[in-house]
Symmetry: C7
Subunit: 94 residues, 7 copies
């Protein structure tokens, strides 16, 4: 497994064909629309310039909505993941 640093999240991106989570349908026609995914690992939180660790809001297992162009693509055991920072997460699907 991968232990993300700071406020990074490792996210399993939802495939286009299955973009319907909790009643929310993400438009596929418009390329710039945010996409969803499931958080498989979350970092401990970012440390500010004042030396304070900021607690994470997003937890492992959360379904999150994030900007399509955010993060870095990585591959673990043949599956695609995205390494995001928590600030790139728009919201948690509940």
């Amino acid at each position: 497994m991968l232990k993300p640093l700071e406020d990074r999240l490792i996210v399993a991106v939802k495939e286009a064909g299955e973009q319907q989570v909790g009643g929310i349908v993400i438009a596929q026609a418009q390329e710039e629309k945010p996409v969803t995914g499931k958080v498989v690992a979350a970092g401990p939180g970012r440390v500010t310039e004042a030396g304070q660790k900021l607690a994470m809001t997003v937890k492992e297992g959360d379904q999150v909505l994030f900007d399509k162009f955010a993060g870095q693509a990585i591959e673990v055991d043949g599956q695609n993941y995205l390494a995001l920072r928590e600030k790139d997460v728009i919201g948690i699907l509940a």
Copy 2:
């Protein structure tokens, strides 16, 4: 539903044909004019570098005026929403 992070607001954008709220008419001719919408969900507030959570001014249910080009378009249950940050809100219609 979507629980927005930080100081984000989920806003139901007002359609052009109905741009008249509380006596305020938003000009349609000039494309750059701000538009209005109703806040359907509000985040808990942004945390500063000093580690302090800043309280939100805008609440769920508020009618807000915001820059036309601000935010990210999302789609929930077939309706268009905008994910804005509170700093992009010009004012609350009262």
Copy 3:
């Protein structure tokens, strides 16, 4: 009415033909010259990264001088207003 957020000011812009306030004449020939207007609504003040609310200097009713290209044009009840931030105000006409 519109309640502006942070340090925003809602300003009724003075028409070109009447640009003479308190003995001050603003040049019309040079397009880049600042213009004047009357503040019809003022926000509560900006909150700093340290979490401190900064008091507003400009009050409702003040005649202010501001950069011609500052702010965002809005329209309320058929009248043009400008949404400015206090930092864009050069000075108060007294």
Copy 4:
């Protein structure tokens, strides 16, 4: 009169033909050279992000040297003034 905000200074710019103040001659040939002027109004001082008001060094009546391209041109009672920020002032002529 105009009461400048923050650390702004309202300066009466010296005409080219009279650019000799206190024995200092400002070169006219090279366009980028700083110019001089007399401060006719000074703001109360800038407030930092920490919420502290910084005292002004420049006072009304001071002759100051500033970058030719700094500030915004305004016109009061038919005279040209410049609205500068104190940080754009190189020094006080004494």
Copy 5:
């Protein structure tokens, strides 16, 4: 040896043919994918503007995942190393 300054890490980059660590396979086809390496030396930590030294999360001996384009290439005793900053490390392979 080289003692890195601040939050720098000296990393032995994994060769492409051996990009499989702890069950994680890094895709080779897509050039922008992050790569892995072993930390051979770690700095003492970055000092913030507030004068506080931030403890390092990454230790000597850790296997790390980092952006392909991060860091500066150096050569020690005929082997390639990369000098990274800890902020460029996405996560620790465990």
Copy 6:
């Protein structure tokens, strides 16, 4: 005379023909090399965002080495001076 503000220094630039100070010869061939000069006036020091005045290291009378492209050229009593900020001074020649 000119009293510089903040951390500014008024420097009498050394002419190319005399670029040898304290055994140090500044290369003339390469245009980008730093040049030297004598400080004729020094400001009181810069005030930080935290409201603290930072003491000056450079004093009136010091011979300083600074980047050729730093500062603003001014002319006082027919002599060329440069208005520099202390941060642009590489070192003091001793």
Copy 7:
């Protein structure tokens, strides 16, 4: 001699033909590789915005590795030196 300001270091750059220090060979083929040098003078340390002087890690006499394009070239007594800031030093050769 030259007393550097803030966190500057005066470094005697190693000639290409002698780029082997403490068993470390710096590649010459690739132009972007960092180079090494010996510190002949070190500043007292940088003062932060909070007014705190940060102690220097690099000392006079240290062999340092730094980015090839960092710093400003100066010439003292016919020898080439580089004026670097400590943040541009990757590590100390030990």
